[in-house]
């Protein structure tokens, strides 16, 4: 950092005073990070996440897939954890996820998505759970059934369900709705929805700006 009275070493211009230089560098750092995250400005948080939910979710985040070469086609990889907005409707639990479209620059490709949910079951109980994937219809009017998964749950604790291409496509559009429909008598309340540390969430592995990226010459 040049002395206040001298020229800038790199460009020969009269050196800025140190305070202005610091401000310039901080603004440059902000701009650089926001540009690389495809954000026009820093996000303002709509729904704060509790530390307990954050800690629980981060234990399930994993590094990039082994052998992945993000530079291979210049795409940038993201792992996104989206907590459910939950609602109950006639004995079905509906989970709404908003996988935000901040990253739509260059097209967002969801490579993998899985649902994580916590179940509290009575001992020695096996429970069949139907997970229905609902997507917005062509004119964004109603939700229609895209596919469903049948799950046998025989122990309390966290469970992971890998979601198929229909759910990945819904995530790519920014909005995924799942319905948990219990089969048999086990009470609906077995799926723990509330409580900071047990909120259901979706983990999505996303690539932005991959193969179709316009190369700058």
């Amino acid at each position: 950092i040049p002395r206040a009275d001298s020229q800038c070493l790199a460009c020969g211009e009269p050196a800025l005073d140190l305070k202005s230089q610091r401000k310039l560098l901080l603004d440059l750092a902000k701009r650089s990070i926001l540009d690389k995250l495809h954000l026009s400005h820093r996000p303002t948080l709509s729904r704060p996440v509790s530390r307990a939910a954050l800690r629980t979710a981060l234990q399930r985040l994993h590094g990039p897939p082994k052998g992945a070469h993000p530079e291979a086609d210049n795409g940038q990889e993201y792992e996104i954890i989206s907590f459910a907005e939950t609602g109950l409707s006639n004995n079905q639990t509906r989970l709404d996820f908003r996988v935000s479209s901040d990253r739509t620059v260059g097209g967002m490709e969801v490579q993998q998505a899985s649902l994580m949910f916590f179940v509290q079951l009575p001992p020695n109980t096996t429970w069949t759970l139907k997970v229905r994937v609902l997507v917005l219809g062509p004119r964004d009017a109603n939700l229609t059934l895209a596919t469903q998964h049948l799950l046998e749950v025989d122990a309390s604790g966290w469970h992971q369900l890998f979601l198929g291409p229909e759910a990945q496509a819904a995530c790519s559009q920014g909005h995924l709705t799942l319905e948990l429909v219990p089969e048999g008598q086990v009470a609906q309340s077995s799926v723990i929805l509330g409580g900071a540390a047990h909120r259901p969430f979706v983990v999505a592995r996303v690539r932005v700006g991959g193969k179709h990226r316009v190369r700058r010459h």
């Binding site: 950092i1 002395r3 070493l9 790199a10 560098l25 901080l26 440059l28 750092a29 902000k30 650089s32 990070i33 690389k36 995250l37 820093r42 996000p43 303002t44 948080l45 709509s46 729904r47 704060p48 996440v49 954050l54 979710a57 981060l58 985040l61 990039p64 993000p70 530079e71 940038q76 990889e77 993201y78 792992e79 996104i80 954890i81 989206s82 907590f83 908003r98 996988v99 935000s100 901040d102």
Partner: protein, 116 residues
């Protein structure tokens, strides 16, 4: 490459740490606590042009000095102080829907500088 110290005028790496708390970004960036926005600054006289880092051998520097002084006219264009090694910045942050996002931004942290 070398780090800038005191009145160093030769090409070097200037460390510059941005503390996210200082700029009010610690509420949406979960990890890390800051960003090392290091940059390259300093002069690249001809006899060190093309060095991967100024720490190249004295012998090479003298040879290049002889070349530069005997070359007729000045070699085309100057030599600039540029990054020669960089690493990614791993970020964990909240997006506007309060989703937790983890990503590695490639080539964000300058580790070494040298003369082009």
């Amino acid at each position: 490459g070398i780090d800038c110290q005191g009145g160093s005028r030769m090409c070097c790496r200037q460390e510059f740490f941005v503390d996210f708390r200082e700029i009010g970004w610690h509420d949406w960036i979960i990890q890390p606590e800051g960003y090392a926005m290091n940059f390259c600054t300093g002069q690249c006289p001809l006899h060190v042009a093309g060095m991967p880092g100024i720490a190249a051998s004295f012998h090479t520097a003298v040879l290049n000095l002889l070349k530069a002084n005997t070359a007729t006219g000045t070699a085309g264009g100057g030599s600039c102080c540029v990054p020669t090694a960089r690493r990614p910045l791993s970020l964990l942050y909240y997006d506007r829907d309060s989703n937790i996002v983890k990503t590695d931004i490639p080539d964000m942290v300058v580790e070494a500088c040298g003369c082009s």
